[in-house]
């Protein structure tokens, strides 16, 4: 035992899976990492063979001066050529088969898994938990399979959790399923990996894994905080976590949509030529049916948040926008 540990201590860190791959925090990780390292060592072997032979021949048979002796040698050898065609062929069968077995597992969600609905939109994630609670972070139970049923409101996104070795595109107009089983409590990062526009690189959230009952406790806590929070405070959190901030600034600068600074109570033009006053009803309508009235000078791009924000959160957002008074410029 100590001997193997001793031997391992001489292997440079760069040759181990913990150097190359993120923390292995799901049941897929050992499978994927095992194959990754198998291909890694196979590649190292062939790379050393190819480059080693190349360097050896280049040095041994290097030309000295301009006079060279050309010794004609074989330009063809069927046995040799068959060998170096068949050995790689056999090896790729192994890699293919191994990858296939792991993949079938990844594509076969088990029965009675914990189910979470996922909605992606430019540029926010929304997770709906059993019971209808929602959050923009992903909360999961440990050692229990979770199935994500995912769709997008606008363009294609892709949900990727490196520590789980799990990834699946989130496509508008269809449901893609992704499953995994976390094996470690704690915090992991979740990325969007299908290019989706300006804030693509900002579209990352956290994945929290809890011991038994922890998820329910956490979700109840989120619920309770929401219920008891000052509406403007809740609005501020919703503004950051639900993706509003990706398109609306709070400092007066123009982004994809109008800034919220000093917006409440103002009157402005909409694309039909009419004028509207920004009041509670207008904000509410703009969140639920964004295409109804488009502010002049902006493109109709905003996705609807119908069913994805709770009444409390909409009220919170209204209160938050109200609170953003234009103090400095007046």
């Amino acid at each position: 035992m100590w001997l193997s540990k001793f031997a391992v201590s001489f292997v440079p860190a760069q040759l181990t899976s913990s150097y190359w791959l993120p923390e292995p925090n799901s049941t897929f990780a050992p499978e994927v990492d095992g194959l990754f390292m198998f291909i890694f060592w196979l590649s190292v072997f062939f790379f050393v063979l190819i480059v080693g032979l190349g360097v050896y021949f280049a040095l041994k048979y290097r030309r000295v001066g301009t006079t060279e002796v050309v010794v004609p040698s074989a330009s063809h050898n069927t046995a040799l050529e068959a060998t170096w065609s068949l050995i790689p062929t056999a090896l790729i069968f192994v890699i293919f088969g191994w990858g296939f077995v792991g993949f079938v597992d990844m594509r076969t969600p088990p029965e009675n898994a914990y189910e979470v609905q996922v909605n992606a939109k430019k540029w926010a994630w929304n997770f709906t938990y059993p019971g209808g609670l929602q959050d923009s972070d992903l909360h999961l139970p440990i050692d229990q399979p979770t199935v994500l049923t995912m769709t997008s409101d606008d363009v294609i996104h892709s949900l990727y959790i490196p520590a789980f070795r799990a990834k699946m595109d989130v496509v508008p107009g269809r449901y893609n399923k992704l499953w995994f089983q976390p094996t470690k409590t704690g915090e992991n990062v979740l990325f969007c990996t299908e290019y989706c526009g300006r804030e693509h690189s900002g579209m990352n959230r956290k994945v929290f894994v809890y011991e038994g009952g922890g998820v329910e406790k956490k979700l109840a806590e989120i619920q309770e905080t929401m219920d008891n929070m000052d509406p403007a405070e809740l609005g501020k959190i919703t503004f950051t976590k639900s993706g509003c901030m990706q398109c609306h600034s709070i400092d007066g600068s123009k982004k994809v949509g109008p800034s919220f600074l000093g917006l409440f109570g103002t009157t402005h033009d909409i694309t039909t030529g009419e004028k509207i006053t920004v009041d509670e009803n207008y904000i509410r309508e703009s969140i639920l049916e964004p295409m109804a009235k488009i502010a002049a000078g902006y493109n109709p791009q905003m996705p609807s948040y119908k069913g994805q924000l709770r009444e409390k959160q909409i009220e919170g957002l209204i209160a938050y926008i109200k609170s953003l008074k234009n103090s400095s410029s007046k």
């Binding site: 790729i92 296939f100 990727y160």
Partner: protein, 564 residues
């Protein structure tokens, strides 16, 4: 046009006292003699300038992107500008440089001469192909000016059907460039079929011709699919026909199938000619007959055909059925075999050779090194379960740069330095050129190797900003990119300098046995006065070094053997 009456006895690379030989560069003068030329060599040279110009533009964009990524957070490019920049870097490099780079620039110049012919089969179509390239490039530039483009070079729907940027202008440009590519391919197929000289059977063709032939098949068969796809995309954007747009009942993933049905074979349009160049270089600079000629020739055709069947590996995470993913994974692995065969054959060619480290060989050796890494890392991406983790990360970015840049660009430079004396009639400075080639090699590895590490650790691609844990690898990569940029400018600068200061090139400076080295450097307008005698293209013993010529001349004691 041509009014000069040639004396046939003076053309052809007859060694000895300087004969008065016309050359294609000075054959006629004035800008019109270039703009309306039908000479494949001049068209090749114009393509060379144009594609190198595009490469420079794409390279500057790459350096801007890498500079932005030196630190996390925003430096000087807003996320929108970053997205425009990476899109145009990809589009310019792919459609304006790598696809036409070797076939249209070097292939155009060399292919007819290798066949001992005067020109390609359809010289007007050849010029037409060049002007289509120009028009396509103008459309791409117009797209930059009128609203930019932020879809990625892949134009994925529904992003491309909903963004405000100039998708229609850019796709029109790519559509036109597609025709440019089809024209080149068609021309090469017909030329190779009909204009081979007596004695040049299919298996006496240089392997570069096998490679360009295989490439041409893909250009002609796959590019129309891209054309159709882009027209559908334009129709979807302009009038909403509802084929890709989910609200209208379309399927956005269908676009990916259409797009990769062209674009995956297109990566073989990019790499096959490069492999052809390497086969020529390894044999010439090892002074050895190429090893396993038939295996290499067949492997080009095998790659071209199998390349049509693997497009689905770009969609392992798209939600396509597990059965299709499995089939595509299996077929993807099958393509790796012909590529591996080529690498082993090149190594066997070096065995017992007389290896020179002239610049083209330095590039050929670095090709073997870089292409091996590019090919082997493809195994990770072809394996289904591992690909799920690596898909759309920097691992993929590193992999295709090792193949497309470490492969195609390095072979492009190898071919350029190899045929430069033939194209220009000048020798460049050998030592500084070797140093530049080594600089390119070091800069390249420093740029792209760290991207494998950060990709495997989860860094997604096409990110304008990143988490601080990836900073170290991004910084290595950015430093490498600048080393690479400087080395590339030096490599081209040394070649350009040779136009003024380089000594005159002999007809055959490297000792190759293919036909283009039998005519003078630079070749006369008609290439050959009489159809040259065809031998084994890899019988390097048929030429020997001559001190007085500073090049290789016919070996009088050479007796063709029947083995090859």
């Amino acid at each position: 046009m041509a009014t000069i009456v040639e004396n046939p006895s003076l053309t052809g690379g007859s060694p000895g006292a300087e004969p008065v030989v016309d050359n294609y560069l000075t054959f006629t003068r004035g800008w019109k003699s270039w703009a309306f030329t039908l000479d494949h060599k001049r068209i090749g040279v114009m393509y060379l300038f144009a594609t190198l110009g595009a490469f420079f533009v794409g390279g500057v964009m790459a350096l801007l992107l890498r500079s932005e990524l030196f630190f996390p957070g925003q430096q000087f490019l807003s996320p929108d500008m970053y997205n425009h920049m990476f899109t145009l870097h990809g589009a310019v490099m792919t459609f304006l440089f790598i696809i036409p780079g070797i076939p249209a620039a070097q292939g155009n110049f060399v292919l007819p001469i290798m066949l001992g012919a005067k020109d390609v089969a359809f010289p007007r179509m050849n010029l037409g192909s060049f002007y289509l390239w120009i028009f396509g490039a103008i459309y791409l530039v117009a797209a930059i000016i009128f609203g930019g483009l932020d879809t990625g070079w892949t134009f994925y729907t529904p992003y491309s059907t909903t963004t405000n940027t100039s998708v229609i202008l850019a796709t029109t440009g790519v559509f036109i460039l597609g025709f440019s590519s089809i024209f080149t391919g068609l021309n090469f197929i017909v030329t190779i079929h009909t204009m081979r000289p007596p004695g040049m059977t299919w298996f006496r063709m240089p392997l570069f011709l096998w490679a360009t032939y295989a490439t041409a098949i893909i250009q002609v068969l796959a590019t129309p699919v891209l054309g159709i796809t882009l027209l559908l995309l334009i129709a979807e954007r302009a009038v909403g026909i509802g084929i890709f747009q989910p609200e209208l009942g379309g399927d956005p993933v269908l676009f990916q199938h259409f797009f990769w049905f062209y674009s995956h074979p297109a990566v073989y349009i990019m790499i096959l000619p490069a492999m052809g160049v390497i086969s020529e270089l390894i044999s010439t600079f090892s002074r050895k007959h190429i090893f396993g000629y038939r295996f290499i020739a067949y492997s080009s055709i095998a790659i071209a055909l199998l390349g049509f069947l693997v497009w689905g590996h770009h969609m392992f995470t798209s939600g396509q059925s597990a059965v299709s993913a499995t089939m595509f994974s299996f077929l993807t692995f099958s393509v790796s075999i012909p590529s591996a065969i080529k690498v082993f054959n090149w190594l066997a060619t070096m065995y017992k050779g007389s290896i020179s480290f002239a610049t083209p060989m330095v590039y050929a050796l670095s090709f073997i090194f870089l292409f091996s890494i590019g090919g082997l890392t493809g195994l990770f991406l072809g394996a289904l379960s591992v690909d799920i983790h690596l898909h759309d990360t920097y691992f993929v970015v590193a992999h295709f740069h090792y193949v497309m840049m470490g492969g195609t660009l390095i072979a492009f430079l190898g071919g350029l330095t190899y045929w430069w004396p033939k194209m220009t009639g000048r020798m460049y400075d050998e030592f500084s050129s070797q140093m530049a080639a080594i600089g390119v090699f070091i800069g390249f590895n420093l740029t792209f190797f760290p991207q494998f590490v950060m990709g495997a650790r989860g860094m997604p691609r096409r990110y304008a900003d990143y988490l601080p844990e990836y900073e170290f690898y991004h910084q290595l990569s950015t430093i490498g990119a600048f080393v690479l940029g400087v080395a590339l400018v030096a490599a081209v600068g040394i070649l350009v300098k040779s136009l003024w200061t380089g000594p005159k090139a002999p007809a055959n400076p490297w000792g190759s046995a293919t036909l283009e080295w039998q005519c003078s450097s630079p070749p006369p307008h008609d290439n050959f006065a009489t159809t040259p005698e065809v031998g084994d293209p890899y019988a390097v013993e048929s030429v020997k070094w001559s001190d007085s010529e500073h090049g290789y001349v016919k070996n009088p004691s050479y007796v063709p053997s029947k083995d090859h």
